[in-house]
């Protein structure tokens, strides 16, 4: 049995003036230095010795990382150090990215979200990370700063496995960009935990749908499943089903069936795999029906 330390182990706190220096430091200390934002994942890992970095490289003061900007043409850019509460409180986010707000509110308690960041949630790459699914149905991408320059990566290519992301030593996620959601989109995040709020998700579904005249149904759907596979599952087949055929209520059940089949859940302390599958079915069907209702009522 792993017995966590009574307090944080020894490490050096590193605060450098520029992102260039921070990236260089990370590159110079491979495996020994960890980028540090809210620390809400990091500290837990430090105490139970899963993570043993010698250096925590603070990013919170770095220029540009605290910006949260919405451009009606390009969409939303969320600096790495923007906290979940800042995100939740932001008018443009509430209006244009409601699923993200719903999901962010599920993370821990209020005081935790004053530290926890979207970037941290994404970089931590936990299968049950609440904000990952919604960021993916908004087709977000991460903007990465590295010693060799910057690059952008769609979230779909960012996650390699639980806790594993496509970053190399010295790379820092600088911000996350969510493009403008399609005109007339509706969406919802449904998650199921043991308590009503603040628990880690046992299973969660993000659905985004919008009118699109180029599709047979006149709509397109994006469906993401969380906590039911090593990484978030995008349910392609169901998305296609709902776009390429005229909408019928029974299709939502069918799509939910497909979702159930596309996930690869595990048994763990929070739930059995079997129950997770069942939840995926129920939550997907509920989310699709509710999103469909709101699409109709607009």
């Amino acid at each position: 049995m792993n017995n966590p330390l009574p307090r944080l182990p020894e490490f050096e706190y590193i605060r450098l003036e520029t992102i260039e220096k921070a990236a260089q430091f990370l590159k110079d200390h491979p495996g020994e230095a960890a980028p540090y934002l809210g620390g809400t994942d990091l500290f837990v890992g430090l105490r139970d010795r899963r993570k043993q970095p010698k250096y925590l490289v603070d990013l919170k003061h770095l220029e540009g990382l605290n910006s949260l900007t919405f451009d009606p043409a390009k969409g939303l850019t969320i600096g790495a150090r923007v906290t979940l509460n800042q995100l939740i409180d932001h008018r443009d986010v509430q209006k244009n990215y409601p699923i993200l707000c719903q999901a962010a509110k599920q993370v821990g308690g209020y005081q935790l979200r004053n530290r926890a960041t979207l970037c941290g949630n994404i970089c931590n790459a936990s299968p049950c990370g609440d904000t990952i699914g919604p960021s993916m149905v908004y087709q977000g991408s991460v903007n990465i700063f590295g010693p060799d320059g910057t690059r952008s990566l769609p979230l779909e290519d960012f996650f390699l496995g639980p806790g594993k992301v496509a970053l190399v030593d010295g790379e820092i996620v600088h911000s996350i960009t969510l493009p403008l959601p399609p005109e007339g989109s509706q969406g919802m995040y449904l998650c199921h935990g043991r308590n009503k709020l603040s628990d880690l998700a046992i299973a969660a579904v993000s659905v985004l749908a919008y009118p699109d005249l180029t599709s047979a149904s006149g709509f397109r759907f994006r469906i993401a499943l969380s906590a039911v596979a090593p990484t978030v599952v995008i349910v392609e087949e169901a998305q296609v089903l709902l776009s390429e055929n005229p909408i019928e209520p029974s299709h939502f059940e069918k799509a939910a069936h497909i979702a159930r089949q596309s996930c690869k859940p595990i048994d763990d302390i929070r739930s059995s795999a079997e129950y997770r599958r069942e939840l995926v079915y129920t939550l997907t069907s509920r989310a699709l029906n509710q999103v469909w209702d709101s699409l109709q009522s607009v």
Binding site: N3, L5, E10, R194, Y275, T282
Partner: protein, 783 residues
């Protein structure tokens, strides 16, 4: 004014808590808040990774050499055993470890970090032994023995271990004629339930600081429900005089039973003996709190109940296997309590009970709010529901017919005292509109109602004592010295209320002497068993009586009046005969001058009081029969309306109602606060809580995966009521209410679930997953 009127002003009144101001400003002192200066050393404990193993060797030499390390202890440092009812536990494992988390070595160092480093340098070699994780397995004749020396352990005379087995107590009741009883039954129900381990989860984890001075005297600062029991137990363990041990206990950040007796507190004592003069602090991390401290024992309960065609319960066979864990030093008495209360609050003529305390290689079981009663009632109250179902009788009517009443002969032979349980049932049934269906909020949701009753007696040795001292100051204020602890339940407030009412002084004249300090506080056995208001209250009243006697003697002498004509009100002594008055301030320290400067009458007033039940008798080892098994029973009922989402299994509590007979509510708002808090803890245990062990390894030793109720998980509506059928020997008629509010909760919710979806789960927690899976299986079998 008449005496009764005067008392009314304070008793039955919502006096604000006396501890609330300091608890809201951050001033209230808890053990970890005490400042010890630079001499303070920090302890950390090396713990067993094996559930059952022999210790082949321990090498501490490298740890001892680490700079900053001041002391290292192992089992070799102390051979004695500790235990409240059965001495079966080593403070640090010797030769053998019996559960994962058992201490095998301890380090005191200049910081927690150094101590932690030292732990990594201690090498322990083990030889694993076969381990037992289920009581069913541990009672098998060929099961390996967890305590081969059980026969040699010291044990109190009401606990019956069976050497050569893993059974550390077997409590029996044999009453009536079982054979014929079953024959006369029109319906019989047989069921088995399993109630898993849970934890107390006080917000403050265990913390203790020990210091041993050069002469060997021990001072121990602890977060404790029972400083005196700790003192006496430690004294006994080390063969010391209790006078050479001083236990100081400030406010306790939640107890619920886990801070009764001695658990981790002996560890810093052992370390402090090696570094005389230095205080040594041990604070458990939350994770350690979960996996190394006492837990609520799991229970496997097999019940058989039968009734006649009219619905009279004729017989009950109750077999309980308590998973006592690796030590049952305290737990044995829980299994006894489960035994003598094993009928629940029902009048049953024929009873066969076997309550077994079984050693396993799980974490040690100990007292938990309810002392076995939540677990027991989870079984009984579901079984009663099933029995009523079987003879198609209304479940409330069935209970009203069978419930205990004044004068009933209980299963142990004791005669039942007056109790208001019927009024509690009526209150609860009315509040949840029993018999009237409640409309679900959506087509895929189903609603149900459930009710459950309870009783509980203070479970303790036959003669636990209480005492109180009232010491006046020159302005009439009074220091009330008690040994009962304020663990959140409001003990200090109620104590002050009783003292003020008993003396006839204003409430704000009473000051509780705190922190509790065994050198100065008046003796109290333990703050457990919901006994404090009752027993300590009696001791305080006795002390007030003693003080009044002294006061009246002085005043009567000075005024040349009859003592019987004197009264005290609002701190003023007056004569009902003449118009004379004198304030207590004027003489409680200095006395009253005799006329014409001819000397003085009186002197400082100190009231001394005590209380101890003297009437509890032993019970026959083979039949469980005796004249009076317990002091009294607090009874009550709870009702729930629940709604189940059949598509996810999620359960919503629409309404939760409690009613308990408290004898007399000294402070009604505090009674209600106990009921609410207890009910929510009960709900939490019913819906979320379970310590999940895999081969003895706890899988959820943190709040991430051991979920407890949050603000969001409350019932939509909660109501609490109390009934007052006075206790003949209670202060103003009061009985305890600390533990009871969570006793019927699991069963009441289980019954409501059954009413909603027709499902009975083997046991709590009634998670969405379990409910969903059961509904799914049910639908399949219907198809």
């Amino acid at each position: 004014m008449k005496k009764s009127q005067k008392i009314l002003a304070l008793i039955g009144t919502n006096i604000p808590r006396v501890d609330i101001q300091e608890k809201m400003t951050g001033e209230a002192l808890f053990t970890d808040d005490i400042q010890f200066g630079v001499k303070l050393l920090y302890a950390r404990i090396k713990r067993s990774p094996h559930a059952h193993a022999l210790i082949k060797s321990i090498d501490t030499s490298r740890a001892e050499k680490l700079p900053g390390v001041r002391a290292v202890v192992t089992g070799a440092d102390f051979s004695g055993r500790i235990g409240l009812y059965l001495k079966d536990r080593h403070i640090i494992a010797r030769n053998r470890v019996r559960y994962i988390g058992e201490p095998v070595a301890g380090v005191a160092a200049v910081s927690e970090a150094v101590a932690e480093k030292a732990l990594d340098l201690i090498q322990v070699e083990y030889e694993p032994l076969p381990a037992l994780f289920l009581p069913q397995d541990a009672i098998k004749p060929d099961a390996p023995l967890i305590h081969p020396d059980l026969g040699e352990y010291e044990v109190v005379n009401f606990i019956f271990p069976k050497p050569g087995t893993n059974i550390s107590n077997h409590f029996k009741i044999r009453k009536g004629d079982m054979k014929n009883a079953w024959k006369n039954c029109a319906a019989i129900v047989e069921n088995e339930y399993y109630i898993p381990h849970i934890q107390h989860v006080p917000l403050e984890t265990h913390v203790a600081v020990a210091k041993v001075d050069l002469s060997g005297k021990i001072t121990l600062w602890t977060s404790s429900q029972s400083p005196f029991a700790q003192r006496d137990l430690i004294a006994k363990t080390w063969g010391m005089s209790p006078a050479d041990i001083k236990v100081i206990s400030p406010y306790v950040g939640g107890g619920f039973g886990c801070k009764a007796g001695v658990t981790m507190e002996a560890l810093p004592v052992l370390l402090a003996m090696k570094v005389k003069g230095c205080p040594v602090k041990l604070r458990l991390t939350r994770e350690e709190e979960f996996y190394t401290n006492f837990v609520r024992q799991a229970l496997l309960i097999r019940l058989k109940m039968g009734c006649d065609a009219e619905g009279n319960i004729l017989a009950m066979e109750n077999t309980m296997y308590w998973d006592g864990g690796a030590s049952t030093e305290y737990g044995v008495n829980i299994t006894r309590a489960g035994g003598y209360s094993s009928t629940g609050p029902y009048d049953i003529p024929n009873v066969k009970t076997d309550s077994y305390c079984v050693y396993t290689n799980n974490t040690i079981g100990g007292p938990y709010r309810g002392f076995g009663m939540s677990e027991l009632h989870t079984g009984i109250e579901q079984c009663v529901d099933e029995l009523a179902n079987k003879i198609k009788m209304d479940k409330v009517a069935f209970r009203m017919r069978n419930v205990v009443e004044s004068g009933d002969i209980l299963a142990t032979g004791m005669v039942m005292h007056p109790t208001g349980i019927k009024a509690c049932i009526e209150k609860v049934a009315e509040a949840i509109e029993w018999g009237k269906p409640s409309e679900p909020s959506a087509p895929h949701k189903k609603r149900g109602k459930g009710i459950a009753l309870m009783w509980k007696a203070p479970a303790m040795p036959p003669n636990p004592g209480s005492s109180a001292t009232l010491k006046f100051n020159s302005d009439g204020t009074v220091f009330l010295s008690i040994g009962g602890q304020e663990i959140g339940q409001g003990a200090f407030t109620v104590a002050a209320q009783i003292a003020a009412a008993g003396l006839g002084v204003p409430m704000d004249w009473i000051r509780i002497s705190k922190p509790l300090d065994t050198d100065y506080s008046s003796y109290e056995w333990q703050t457990v068993a919901s006994r404090i208001t009752w027993t300590m209250g009696n001791a305080i009243l006795d002390a007030a009586k003693d003080a009044r006697k002294q006061i009246f003697k002085i005043v009567a002498k000075a005024w040349k009046e009859n003592k019987k004509d004197l009264e005290i009100k609002d701190g003023i002594v007056y004569s009902t005969n003449t118009d004379k008055k004198i304030s207590l301030k004027d003489f409680v320290i200095t006395g009253i001058p005799k006329k014409k400067d001819q000397g003085w009458i009186g002197g400082p007033i100190i009231g001394r009081g005590k209380f101890m039940p003297t009437y509890v008798t032993g019970l026959d080892k083979d039949t469980g029969q005796g004249k009076r098994a317990v002091v009294h029973y607090t009874t009550g009922a709870q009702g729930f309306i629940v709604e189940v989402d059949t598509l996810t299994g999620k359960l919503e509590i629409i309404k939760a109602v409690s009613a308990f007979d408290v004898g007399k509510a000294i402070n009604p708002d505090l009674v209600k606060a106990q009921i609410e808090g207890g009910m929510v803890q009960g709900i939490s245990s019913a819906l979320f809580e379970q310590l999940v062990f895999k081969e003895g390894v706890l899988q959820n030793p943190n709040f991430v995966d051991y979920r407890i109720a949050t603000t969001m998980d409350l019932p939509d509506k909660m109501e609490s009521y109390y009934i007052e059928v006075p206790q003949d020997d209670g202060p103003f008629g009061a009985r305890g209410i600390g533990e009871h509010p969570m006793v019927p909760t699991i069963a009441a919710i289980a019954n409501a679930i059954n009413d909603a979806v027709g499902i009975r789960l083997e046991g709590p927690p009634f998670t969405a997953e379990k409910l969903f899976m059961a509904i799914k299986a049910q639908n399949k079998s219907v198809d």
